[in-house]
C-alpha cells in the first residue's frame, strides 16, 4: 500500500499478529491497522522495513506467539430488539423474532477490526444462518446506536450515516467520543455480549 504501508495477508492470524506487533513496538512502525484477514503496517515514508519484523511474523504464523497477549476487555451492551429488519432477518434464519433475540444474546462476539466510521467495530462470532449479504438498497440514513448484521458480522453504528446493513435493534451505549482519552468503546480483540434491554 504505497511506500507508507505494508499490507500483510495474515488470514485468521491477523488479530494475533496485531496484538503481538502492538506489544513489540517495532521502531519505524507508526500504526497497526487490523482488517478482515489482513493487517496494515503504517510506516514512516522512506524508512527501511523494521528490523525484527520477519522473525516476529514467522513466530506468529508458526503459532509460537510467545507470551499471551493482555486479556481482552468484555463489554455488555444493552440492546432493544426493535430494528426495522428484525422480522425479515428472523424469517431468513427460520426463527421467530424472540428466539433470534435470545440467540444473539447467547453469543460471545469478538471485535475483529474497526473501520467504516470512527468507532464502528466489526463483531465476529455469528452462526452461519445469520451470515447475510448487505441489503440490495442501502439506507441513506441509519440512526446512531443501530445494531445491525451483514457480511457475517454484527455492527453497531456509533453515529448516524448511510448504511447497507440489516437493522435488528438499537442501543443507547455511546461507542465513540472524540473528547475521551480512549475515544472508542471497542478495541480489536475485545469481547462483546448483547443483553436484552
Amino acid at each position: 500500500m504505497s511506500d507508507r504501508g505494508l499490507c500483510l495477508a495474515a488470514g485468521s492470524a491477523s488479530l494475533a499478529l496485531y496484538q503481538r506487533l502492538l506489544e513489540a513496538r517495532l521502531p519505524g512502525v507508526a500504526e497497526l491497522v487490523p482488517a478482515d484477514g489482513s493487517l496494515l503496517l503504517v510506516l514512516a515514508p522512506g524508512a527501511p522495513l523494521p528490523a525484527g519484523l520477519m522473525t516476529l511474523l514467522e513466530e506468529v504464523l508458526d503459532g509460537h506467539s510467545g507470551a499471551p497477549g493482555a486479556p481482552a476487555s468484555e463489554h455488555r451492551i444493552a440492546v432493544r430488539f426493535d430494528g426495522d429488519d428484525l422480522a425479515e432477518v428472523a424469517a431468513r434464519a427460520g426463527q421467530a423474532a424472540e428466539s433470534l433475540a435470545r440467540l444473539l444474546c447467547s453469543l460471545t462476539l469478538r471485535v475483529k477490526f474497526l473501520g467504516f466510521q470512527p468507532g464502528f467495530a466489526y463483531l465476529e462470532g455469528l452462526p452461519a444462518q445469520l451470515h447475510l449479504p448487505r441489503r440490495a438498497r442501502p439506507r441513506k440514513t441509519v440512526p446512531a446506536g443501530s445494531v445491525a448484521l451483514a457480511g457475517g458480522y454484527c455492527g453497531i453504528y456509533p453515529a448516524a450515516g448511510p448504511g447497507g446493513w440489516h437493522l435488528i435493534g438499537s442501543t443507547d451505549v455511546p461507542l465513540f467520543d472524540p473528547a475521551a482519552s480512549r475515544p472508542t468503546r471497542f478495541l480489536p480483540g475485545d469481547l462483546v455480549r448483547l443483553v436484552a434491554a
Binding site: S2, D3, V33, L40, F116
Partner: protein
Amino acid sequence: MIEVLKPGLLDLVMDQGRPGFRAQGVPEGGAADAPALMLANRLVGNPERAAGLELLLRGPALRFPEGGRIALSGADMRARCGDAMLPRGRTLEIPPGGVLELAQADKGLRAYLAVAGGIEAPPVLGSRATFLPSGFGGWQGRALRAGDMLPTGAPQGHRQGVLTFPRAKSALRILPGPQLPAFADAALQALTARTFAVGPDANRLGLRLAGPALAYRGGELASQAVLPGAIQVPPDGQPIILGWDGPVTGGYPVLAAVIAADLPRLGQLRPGDRLAFAFVTLAEAQAAWRKHERDLDEAIAWAA
C-alpha cells in the same frame, strides 16, 4: 484573533493530522497539501504542526483586529489587504484592523493561510484538524462561518522568508497495490498509457476519476486497511483515489497507490484536471521521499 467577515467556499482549520487512531476507525486527516501548510507555518515562525486554514477554490474575507504576521501558500487566490496585493510564499504583516480578502483561484484548488502563533482551536485526539465526516476537530467540527472569532496563539520569531517550492508536473508516481495481480492486463496497460480526468465529486474523502474502465478479475474482497493515495476500483471500473479523510478500511480492490512524495499534489487537483500515472519501484519512491524532504529543507530563503 481572526474574525470571519465572509466565508469562502469551504474554509477548514487544519494541521498535519491525527496519526495513531486508525485501528479505532479514525483516519489521519490533516492538510491535503500538507507541505504547503507546513511551509507557511515556517514563514511565520510557527512549529510545523501548528494549525492554519485550508481554503478551497474561493477564499474568505478575514479581519485581523490586532493585526498579525501571516503567510499564504498553495493555490493563488489573489490575496489583497486594502489596496495592496499580497504575494504568496512570503512573510507578510497585516496591520491592526486589516482585512485579508481572498478571491477565486484560477489554478490549483487549495490555499493555506498560516498566522503567527497558530489557530488555537481545541485539539481533539491530539490534532486541530477538522474532520467533517464526524463533525469534530477544527473550529467546532465544521467549516468557518461569518462571525466566527478564531483565537490565535502567541507569535514566535520575527524573520522574513521567501518560499520557493518546486512542484513536479509529471505523471503521479505509483506503486503496485495489493490486488494488482487480479486486474486484467488491459487495465494495467490503460492505467499508465491513458490519462484520467478528475470527476466533479472530488473532495477530502476521495477523488473519483473518469477514464478507461479498469477490469478487475478477482473475487469478492474482504475489507482491508487502506491509506490516502490508494487507487481503489469499484465495480464500474472508474478508479477512486482515496483522500485524506477517507475511511480506514475499504472493500474495493486496490490496484495501485500514489507514493508519499506525490500525495500532496492530489490536494491541488480540481474537477476537470487530467492526470497520468507512472509506476516506480519502492527504491525510487523512497528516493523521491528523501528528495521531497530535502526540497522542504531548502524551500525558504531567509532575509539576513
